[in-house]
């Protein structure tokens, strides 16, 4: 990038006789200088089949940097594959030294990766295999989690209670503001959506049933789960993934401490303990949101709304809602911790782990919700 580098570099290939030629380089060979593409020179070399010997010369260089040896290396490599002798004694000493250095360690056989073309079938096969491996990883992780829980039940799990309380703090109280906001607004939306229809029949009072049942059985748990998978599930994956990158998980293993017990268990426990409580809170907030709309806009008194909600929602509904919360918590914690533990060892792998953790837990949540709802419907509860 020096000022002299703007002078352009010339390459001249001259035939001396039938089997020998010389390549002479002159001018500026720094970054920014205009230079004939090396492919043209190689093509010129290829044009004469009888060539056996090439001498490289560069006596009048205005300036040069890495560009020159990189250029020459390309020519030399090409000549070598074509079995042409190269005489580089006409090059400046520094360039010769660099070329020698670059060839000091020969390329390791088999190190270079050649790109393979993949057929459609091959790609489908790869995807299926990856899916199988994923499923196997999930099974293994669930198994290990079970073992860790068994150890906990027998009182032999090794983890720090402080860690667990920190996790509880993070997964519980710290999530209250966002849960408040979302649940309140969801209750509000439910009330509005229902009110438009119900008001046509003068049945505004049933907004309370709609909001109460909808929130307690469904939306409270679902919305809390969505919030927590984005908040806590992703955080778990990123934390454990980063620990993996820093070899902290290896360090635990070599100390004889199971990372499943030490890292995964407190996180899972914290989320499983906190989620039902958060759901309960979200239910309350949802009902409050519905009440705000109905009482202020649809001519229903506070007491009426309260009594109607009490009539509509019974303990079974609440039980189902809280059970869903519990199940979702287990799924979110599993997805987050599993992706974190399986994380690769690079910055982008941590990002991938967090992303897949959230995507997976959302899928798990929706599927589990459908299954639970179906079962409840069949059982008539």
């Amino acid at each position: 990038m020096s000022a002299a580098g703007t002078a352009s570099g010339q390459v001249n290939l001259t035939r001396i006789d039938d089997s020998t030629a010389s390549i002479e380089l002159t001018g500026g060979w720094s970054h920014g200088a205009a230079v004939r593409p090396v492919e043209q020179v190689l093509a010129e070399l290829d044009a004469s089949k009888s060539l056996r010997r090439v001498s490289l010369k560069a006596h009048e260089l205005a300036s040069w940097d890495s560009r020159l040896p990189a250029y020459l290396l390309k020519i030399i490599d090409h000549c070598r594959t074509r079995r042409i002798d190269v005489d580089s004694s006409g090059l400046p000493e520094g360039v010769q030294e660099l070329l020698k250095l670059a060839r000091a360690v020969p390329e390791r056989a088999g190190a270079r990766r050649t790109e393979q073309k993949k057929s459609i079938l091959g790609r489908i096969g790869k995807t299926v295999l990856r899916g199988l491996k994923d499923a196997k990883g999930l099974m293994a992780f669930i198994g290990e989690t079970m073992l860790a829980f068994m150890a906990l039940v027998r009182g032999k799990a090794r983890f720090r209670t402080v860690d667990m309380f920190l996790c509880i703090q993070d997964a519980g109280p710290a999530a209250l503001p966002i849960v408040t906001l979302i649940s309140l607004l969801v209750g509000l939306i439910l009330a509005f959506v229902g009110a438009v229809q119900l008001a046509m029949f003068g049945a505004q009072i049933y907004i309370a049933d709609l909001v109460g049942l909808g929130t307690v059985r469904e939306m409270g748990a679902l919305m809390t789960a969505v919030i927590m998978s984005g908040r806590t599930g992703a955080a778990y994956a990123a934390q454990l993934g980063t620990m993996n990158v820093n070899s902290e998980i290896d360090a635990l293993r070599t100390m004889g401490i199971s990372p499943m017990e030490f890292l995964v268990l407190p996180r899972m426990l914290a989320l499983i303990l906190m989620m039902p409580l958060l759901c309960l809170y979200a239910d309350l907030m949802g009902i409050l949101g519905g009440m705000m709309v109905t009482v202020s806009a649809f001519d229903v008194s506070l007491v009426q709304y309260f009594n109607e909600t009490r009539k509509a929602v019974d303990l079974t509904d609440l039980g189902i809602g809280l059970f869903k919360g519990l199940a979702f918590a287990a799924l979110i914690a599993t997805a987050g911790c599993m992706r974190g533990m399986q994380c690769g060892r690079s910055a982008s792998a941590v990002g991938d782990a967090a992303t897949t953790a959230v995507v997976n837990s959302l899928v798990y949540i929706v599927v589990a919700d459908s299954v639970i709802t179906l079962i409840c419907n069949r059982l008539g509860i």
């Binding site: 990038m1 593409p37 890495s66 990189a70 290396l73 030294e97 670059a102 000091a104 990766r113 690079s346």
Partner: protein, 255 residues
Amino acid sequence: MKTPHITVSNLTMAYGDFVLQRDLNFTIDHGDIFIIMGGSGCGKSTLLRHLIGLQRPAKGDVFYDRQDFWHASDEERVRLMRRIGVMYQSGALFSSLTLAENIALPLGEFTDMGSREIADIVSYKLALVGLAGFEDYYPSEISGGMQKRAGLARAMALDPEILFFDEPSAGLDPVSAKLLDDLIVSLRDTLGATIVVVTHELASIFAIGTNSVFLDPETKTMRATGSPKKLLAESNDAKIIQFLTRGENHVDNPA
């Protein structure tokens, strides 16, 4: 003839109120292999951070040739920083990029070369550090020593005038460390670059160092500057002799 390339004058390094080193004065000449040495925690790496523009001095100046590094405008400093290359302790390669992409990054950003020519230069740089053929590997797929050498290839991408090394031989086996030392010397000889090395490996210090500064954590300043061999032969500072002989010799009977 030797001319100063980097001049450090009255430099004081501090983290907040905590002074790490004060009143550092030394010069690094063109073509030097300059060693920053001293015991653990004396501020070697921090001094390096001051030299490469990552940390502003609490007091004092760093001059590149005649230009004041820390009092230059931001654009000017960025221009100066482009003339230096740094090899970090752990390689600091971008883990989501292949080796080729790592080295091509500065080339693509700061030169107007085409992608083919960049690829040629990348291959050449990798060959220089003995990693020919490893273009498409990710940093996590190669060994620690290879990562360091790839980091060196990236540091050299823009043909810097000054190369900085942070603990180049840390974590390497003696043979690899020796090879890296040889590589540093031959790069200095062929590229004509100035080299600054932070290390406490005695073997490296004596094998490659042509000039040095010795930092002391207790008095919080430099104890000496000069060629390591000369320091060992001529210094009568007990601390320096102790450091350079791994504490095996006293001042009274130098090796």
